[in-house]
Symmetry: C2
Subunit: 327 residues, 2 copies
């Protein structure tokens, strides 16, 4: 089996490729080769699994067809302009997030006898406006950003192309990834990972919102599990509903900090500086707090065990299991 990862240079793309390299199978079938696509050259995973590296802009004419010429059985479409950039650069957001996704679906439709499993990463940003504390699976799509709009449109396309029999697609609304590895960034949500990641690396972190703020999280490891589960499940089990809200951990900032204290002690917590930022509070204050995610749970998507487990994943996967030596 050949597996294609579009957006393979990103954090999830790299981890997903590493997973296939380490396990060599998907749903019990051997994965024989990877196709790693991005707008920059992705790094192939360690190990012996053959990986073809492809670089192009999916939204450019003919690019999607060229990428898919080898007819991968499974396609992970993770490529996207992120929320902040899609808001700052209106045209780029629509070109990459909408036109790129549509070009991919059109390339698949144009290939005779080809109906791959497509796993598309959507976003919680498809939801907005007044939200209940726990959002049910069937809830109105009311995005409050261009990014969320583009992802909602992508979901609609995946559903319609699947209904028409052109592709066998699934759209996944991933929880916010926490603890996201790597350097701090300026995303409004960045502090949710930063207040854990920085102290776990012995570095100071800034908390711009009250500790009562609640949000919905999954570890990178759980997210990779979701992607794999979406690739292997029986499409008929979806009963025609192609978008899934995934199970996460609903936690407040206070919950996060308490878990950090349990794992790494008071000295780690002391590295968090409270510096209230009303602008960031206003943005993240409108975000979802929790989801029911009943359908995904029934379909075998497995969430993290809890907020402590989320921190543990970071230490195991990004720090080789080693806690920082603090003061």
């Amino acid at each position: 089996m050949q597996v294609a990862i579009l957006g393979a240079a990103g954090m999830l793309g790299r981890k997903l490729a590493g997973r296939f390299s380490a396990e060599g199978q998907l749903g019990g079938q051997p994965v024989e080769r990877l196709l790693l696509h991005d707008i920059v050259a992705a790094t192939p995973p360690a190990g012996d699994l053959p990986a073809e590296i492809r670089v192009s802009d999916l939204s450019a004419p003919g690019a999607a067809a060229a990428v898919l010429a080898s007819r991968p059985e499974v396609i992970f479409h993770l490529a996207a302009v992120v929320s902040g950039e899609a808001e700052a650069d209106f045209e780029k957001g629509y070109r990459v997030n909408l036109d790129g996704t549509r070009a991919l679906l059109e390339a698949i439709r144009a290939m005779e006898g080809y109906r791959p499993r497509l796993v598309f990463t959507s976003s919680l940003a498809v939801f907005g406006g007044p939200l209940p504390d726990v959002i049910p699976d069937d809830f109105v799509l009311r995005p409050q950003s261009s990014y969320g709009t583009q992802k909602a449109m992508g979901e609609l396309l995946v559903a319609d192309y699947s209904r028409r029999g052109f592709v066998d697609g699934i759209s996944l609304r991933l929880p916010t990834i926490c603890v996201r590895p790597g350097l701090p960034n300026r995303a409004a949500s960045g502090f949710y990972s930063g207040i854990l990641r920085e102290p776990l690396n012995g570095q100071p972190a800034v908390l711009p919102v009250p500790e009562t703020m609640r949000h919905w999280f999954a570890s990178p490891r759980a997210a990779i599990g979701f992607l794999v589960r979406a690739a292997e499940l029986d499409g008929a089990a979806l009963e025609g509903v192609r978008s899934l809200t995934l199970p996460g951990i609903s936690a407040t900032v206070a919950d996060q900090i308490a878990a950090l204290r349990r794992l790494a002690g008071d000295r780690a917590v002391a590295l968090i500086e409270r510096r209230p930022d009303p602008a960031i509070e206003a943005i993240v204050g409108t975000w979802p707090k929790a989801f029911e995610a009943r359908r995904a749970l029934a379909l075998g998507f497995v969430p993290d065990a809890g907020i402590d487990a989320i921190l543990q994943v970071y230490v195991e996967d990004e720090r080789g299991g080693v806690l920082p030596a603090l003061g």
Copy 2:
């Protein structure tokens, strides 16, 4: 004020142009000229109101910008490939219903200092899957057709372009128009008008579904009222929610037939032949039965008075108030 009607050759477009010609105003402001656009030449309404006739394909490069060069203050975007055709011709449906709408929004965005009111006709077809008997205003979008998918995507675009300040848009989910004037067509919904229109013209009609089937209706006159109301209301009153489900009349086929009997007697009803068609029953059986439409009611959208009033509108507006002479 200049008012543009895109899709001006269609039934609603013609009636809307006639309305402006007859009343000469919109929201208290004089309408000085009409711009009537379609893929075929629209017929200007009777009267003295100047009407410029434009013919082009909105989805063609540059077409939308050319149409809008005179900067109409209000744009009605009624142009669409209908449900059956969008399902039969996948590419045409996406080109006209999605690309045409996006091209229109992009042309508006590109015009410096131009932020017109845009009234976009969406559809009940954005809803699907298991539906409650009465659908609330906030309900999941789950279209079961390519047409419904394209309309849902159009709504998302109108909302995002409005949020970004490029346009002041409103998407209207019109009830099924009844009694639709003109010749019978092969739309699955055609019988809902046909069983009333044909007898009111002294002609036989076919009823393919049980009399218990319930659906959601508005007369053409009420629909024109909705379009005008959407054009004149204060955009701030929408509170950022740019899609409205409109108030209609929820009626069963039995209700329709009873109203026909009250208006035109047993001889009119006798012109309806029961000829069950399980295929049509299967399609329309999944359609919405009724909506709350609370927001639209609060915003001053006025539904028909009832099913009898809907029949009366047909006789008044299409038959000069004259009932047929029946055998």
